[in-house]
Assembly symmetry: C2
């Protein structure tokens, strides 16, 4: 006796009950148009009461004639067959009921005429929501009262028959059509295959594909070539934040064929049982530089998967996608040198004074064309440019949000001589972020709530009638400069006029090192925090006009990056990476050891206060690269060895080159108005790096680990 | 005193000697056209003897006006500036010398007028080959005698000045222009950044980008969406051949934010110090099925990186690229069932009797358009189709090379009754591969040399005057059937006429199980081996007409795959993967336990005897999938758990679906006429998985491993 599980009987094409049903169907339609409300294949019984849902159909079925997207008013009165997922009954009178059918490209309304005793009606009622069905019927224009302003809102299918292809479980873990009652994100991630059936999420994923293809098409038009760089790369000595990939020891076994016994020189001295590892790339930085140096392509791009193993932070993913590009023969700026940036850079565009203008042009082209097509917004021919120093002074941020003004002001010059002298001795300054009563009502509630967290160099002062002549001299921050008890003449007679505080307002005061460091200042953080609070309280509505901005001329080296200190151990770090070129006007300073004065040819692209990408012109001079490794970053030989191939390549006639990388997930989240990048990634991981759908990461059996020459540190 | 390394003096923009040189240049050209043979920036001296090569230039330089590719006869007599790598001097008279300049897109000839004492000539002589330069000059038509039939073979640049941007080392490890004296592959892989400057290799890489973009464009035209599936996936219980990726233990630390404390249920019971792993995908099979089941896209594709950690085999890479696609609502074949394949399938196209014809159409569309554009070949509207059984009987291979005929023949019917009976009892057959003297001279030398390796069921017989009446009865293989000493009447009177051996020839005889198994038979292997030998000896020239073929209706399950036995431990294995659907006509047999008779809806696309891709219609019935897992493959619960998400997804209204995957590296190797897929991968690894350029894989410090909770098995 063969063993067909009971549940399967009747399910398979060849079993008797199904075959009979098919034949009924075939007989009824052979050469004859189905009658209205003809009973489809799925109906195994003649009476509504006895409707029994057929099980899954693994056999030939009606071929669809149209996707939902391809239907239109021009098909009216045609017989059409569509396939998709049945949605809940939407509208019903005693004799009419409506169901949406949804496929991977759209939706269409199915209409069934007939009361509950009608077999087709009974069948439709019996099919669980989200089942896969094929529906056959006649396309009709909707009644004028039923027309809606969404795709296919003007048409519907008068259902003639239905085939149930795969009935869904009645108790699905979540119902993607029930958008007003969404399951929590954990549940939705665990059952992502269902959540993806939700229209909003599906639209994001499809838009991602369209944006990617537009980007590729533009880049090919501009002579870029897409090149796939390795994902199994070399691990760096510290291995910070990278994923390592053990490989089976067989690779070190001797082998007779010519290229199979090739051992990488670095591991020749290791015993055969020393486990060996690749590393997944955090970005294709080195491969792409090698590519452009080699000349295999003049202009490279790649939608590149990158990997970072780090503590879960909100909205980070262990794997993410960069739109990565690199160009040979980028400029190194203009020979007339770096003029000081004009005063009052409210001038329309600012000045791009570095090299890499070719990169700027292609990046702006990409963004303009994406915004034109997907946002119906025509962006300016060139985006605004601002140096890092200007951005930090005026907005306290290296990614200023320009959707609102309220710049930070340097008020050092308003101080008394003794205060200014004391500040100068410490190389410090005093700045203020001011919310005048009149012009910034929308920020006031936020300003009152923001927390200062006991920073002794930071202060909030409410200026009103009772203190408008004394607030400056009573400032805790300013008094702290000369010693807590001193009462220096700090007040400036016309300070309230200068600062637009005649009607009162709120002042945030901060004392800081004159040379900005890192990504933000105290007042910059407050400016954003207050704006966010104002937005969330409904006080501030920001313009939907996107504010793109290039931030340029970053310091090339830093000691202020806590993230990098982990590797630097007190040495200088590269602000971005060690391949970024200095501005050519600063090269002499670099060799003279004035490290902190050297500006790099780095550029970040900022949109509404969010960094959406960055890049730089690279060092192409092998001696300069060596100087940076050796004399500035003071790399150990082992650290330097990681860059051997690049150092060699620079000696083979490397052309000037530079590039850029967009954070593609972030860009898509912006284009999709999504709150999280998880909403634009088809199978995302949680902030902790867990994948609730595929259930990774997971333990691996020690016997498997042994094949890689490794074992758990503590055996359980 | 600042510390500029000696070698750098003069290299940087701001140093005195360089500045002077720039100013000379600027003065000489300001407003004045350069005189012929004007000395360019790079020349620091007035006399040829004292030419000193400038070091690397990290400062503004002349902007190129053209890439080599963009130059054309229409620019004649224009002043142009190009940038690229200087190639060796190609042609010289006393007063003229020529150099090619190569950039990432093409080449152009530079011509220098002037004898060795001329400063520009001396400068050009001093620049090391492969240095990066900028050349300024006037575009000229070549003299009629100098015109050549390659790109830019009709034009040249009369050089006016040159800027050396980055001089190459004089002793480069390999010279990419010296194509007649290539370094060995090990050296070339180690210095890939130079080898990639070789035109042939560079063309391959650029063609790869163009093919990929064409493929994407076609698929978008057909409503496919590209979706990036995860690379950090779940490891399978045995972990055979997959790469695992340990992740830092911090991911298991508790975290307060809502999605950061989400632990995958499978690991809840593990202690916090149990190391946990992702796995890299061997293909995106499960994610892509989930995608199409979810309905997020109706048609999915991806150029997907895949990973396989296995013993180095020739021309395999641990990371490789698939053009992967999947479609919802593919057909399940025709209702009239599976007619037997017509006799004599030399009929033009054969019959596609399975489902998935939608996949066939898009795959053929892709191939036709690639071949049309890149091979200037118009392929037939439909490719030929052959069942696995037919392919195995006629060609002894599941990927027959149809560029030559010489089919294998079943000669069982020529045997005497007793032999036939003995064969039937063992379910065996006798087949012959025959090279008649007249028609297959080109195979003879190869046929004589092929080694049979002592297989007792395989035999080579030369038929000539001395044995043309007796060869069959004396056959060792045939006599073995009835016992070694028997002398059964095995001869057939007109055997030589039937087999076209009247003029003699060579016969390979083989006895085998009637039901074919695996990828080839003994005679199939010999057929290919002899053809390869004939080709390499110059005896056989195959038509360049590509022979595409679909091989269909594979057995769904196998016990004959040694590779799979590793995991199967004596159980049935899926011939391809456990998600492949049976042909619907065979479903009943499957439930009846006639496992070996069940054919799958699997299709391979074969080109000239090479499998370039494959795919199938998948199981969408959750009960059928369960039956396959449980009752046929007899998976353990742990093995089954790997497929949990898929099993759940099938219960949520999964539509019929099917797909395909091209081996993109292999496809590109064919299009580039490359011998190895290494020639179409920009940074390939050796057969043993080593990367001689990036020097991976490499040991990792135990302190780093400890962060992942692992350690080397043997501490050194």
């Amino acid at each position: 006796m063969h063993r067909i599980p009971r549940v399967l009987r009747g399910a398979v094409g060849g079993s008797r009950s199904r075959t009979a049903a098919y034949q009924t169907r075939r007989a009824s339609t052979s050469g004859i148009e189905p009658r209205p409300n003809n009973i489809g294949d799925g109906i195994g019984s003649e009476t509504a009461k006895a409707v029994q849902l057929p099980s899954c159909r693994s056999a030939p079925y009606l071929r669809r004639t149209h996707t939902c997207k391809s239907l239109s008013g021009s098909d009216v009165d045609k017989k059409v067959t569509v396939a998709g997922w049945i949605q809940p009954k939407r509208r019903a009178t005693r004799n009419i009921s409506c169901y949406n059918l949804k496929d991977g490209l759209g939706e269409i309304q199915l209409v069934v005429w007939g009361d509950a005793s009608d077999p087709l009606q009974a069948m439709m009622d019996a099919i669980p929501t989200q089942s896969a069905i094929v529906a056959e019927g006649v396309l009709k224009l909707r009644h004028i009262n039923q027309k809606r302003d969404y795709p296919n809102g003007d048409i519907e299918i008068l259902l003639k028959s239905v085939q149930v292809i795969n009935p869904a479980d009645r108790n699905l873990p979540l119902m993607p059509h029930d958008i007003h009652n969404l399951a929590n994100e954990k549940v939705r991630l665990r059952h992502r295959y269902l959540d993806l059936r939700r229209t909003e999420l599906a639209n994001n994923i499809r838009k991602r594909s369209e944006v990617a293809h537009l980007v590729r098409t533009i880049l090919h038009e501009h002579d870029f070539a897409e090149v796939e760089t390795p994902m199994l790369l070399k691990s760096s000595p510290e291995g910070a934040r990278e994923f390592i990939v053990p490989t089976r020891l067989s690779t070190s076994a001797p082998d007779s064929t010519s290229l199979n016994d090739d051992q990488s020189p670095g591991v020749n001295t290791e015993s055969a049982s020393t486990p060996r590892f690749y590393a997944l790339p955090q970005s294709p930085q080195q491969p792409k530089q090698l590519l452009v140096i080699s000349g295999v392509v003049d202009r490279y791009y790649q939608l590149a998967r990158c990997f970072r193993d780090e503590d879960g932070r909100k909205d980070r993913q262990p794997e993410f996608t960069q739109l990565d590009l690199e160009m040979a023969w980028v400029s190194w700026g203009e020979s007339n040198g770096s003029r000081p940036e004009p005063e009052g850079a409210t001038e329309p565009h600012g000045t791009w004074r570095m090299g890499g203008s070719e990169v700027r042009v292609i990046v702006e082209t990409l963004v303009r064309r994406i915004w034109s097509r997907f946002e119906a917004t025509e962006l300016p021919g060139q985006f605004r440019v601002m140096t890092y120093d200007t951005a930090m002074s005026r907005y306290g941020s290296d990614k200023p949000d320009l959707r609102f003004g309220l710049e930070i002001q340097d008020i050092t010059q308003l101080m008394s001589d003794s205060v200014r002298q004391a500040l100068a001795e410490r190389d410090e300054m005093v700045e203020a972020w001011i919310l005048p009563m009149g012009s910034a009502v929308q920020f006031m509630r936020g300003a009152r709530r923001v927390l200062l967290q006991g920073d002794s160099k930071l202060e909030r002062i409410k200026v009103a009638n009772d203190n408008d002549g004394t607030w400056l001299s009573r400032s805790r921050v300013l008094r702290g400069i000369l010693g807590i008890d001193s009462e220096g003449p700090m007040d400036c007679p016309n300070v309230n006029s200068v600062l637009d505080l005649n009607d009162g307002g709120v002042v945030f005061l901060s004392r800081r090192q004159r040379k900005p460091e890192g990504g933000s200042t105290a007042l910059g953080r407050i400016r954003i925090e207050v704006a966010n609070m104002a937005q969330s309280m409904g006080d501030l509505g920001l313009s939907s006009e996107p504010q793109f901005l290039w931030v340029t001329e970053f310091p090339l080296f830093t000691r202020a990056d806590a993230d990098k200190e982990f590797l630097a151990h007190g040495r200088w770090s590269s602000t971005h990476h060690p391949f970024t070129a200095p501005m050519w006007e600063d090269i002499e300073k670099m060799y003279e050891g004035k490290i902190e004065e050297v500006r790099g040819q780095h550029y970040d692209l900022v949109l509404n206060g969010v960094e959406i990408g960055g890049g730089s012109v690279r060092v192409h001079d092998p001696a300069m690269q060596e100087h940076i490794f050796e004399n500035i970053l003071r790399l150990t030989d082992q650290e330097k060895a990681t860059f051997d191939h690049l150092r060699q390549a620079l000696r083979s006639g490397a052309p000037p080159h530079g590039g850029f990388a967009f954070g593609f997930d972030r860009l898509m989240a912006i284009l999709c108005k999504a709150e999280s990048i998880r909403d634009v990634i088809v199978f995302p991981k949680t902030g902790a790096g867990a994948d609730p759908l595929f259930k990774s990461p997971a333990p691996v059996d020690p016997s498997v680990l042994a094949q890689y020459g490794i074992r758990p540190q503590r055996l359980s």
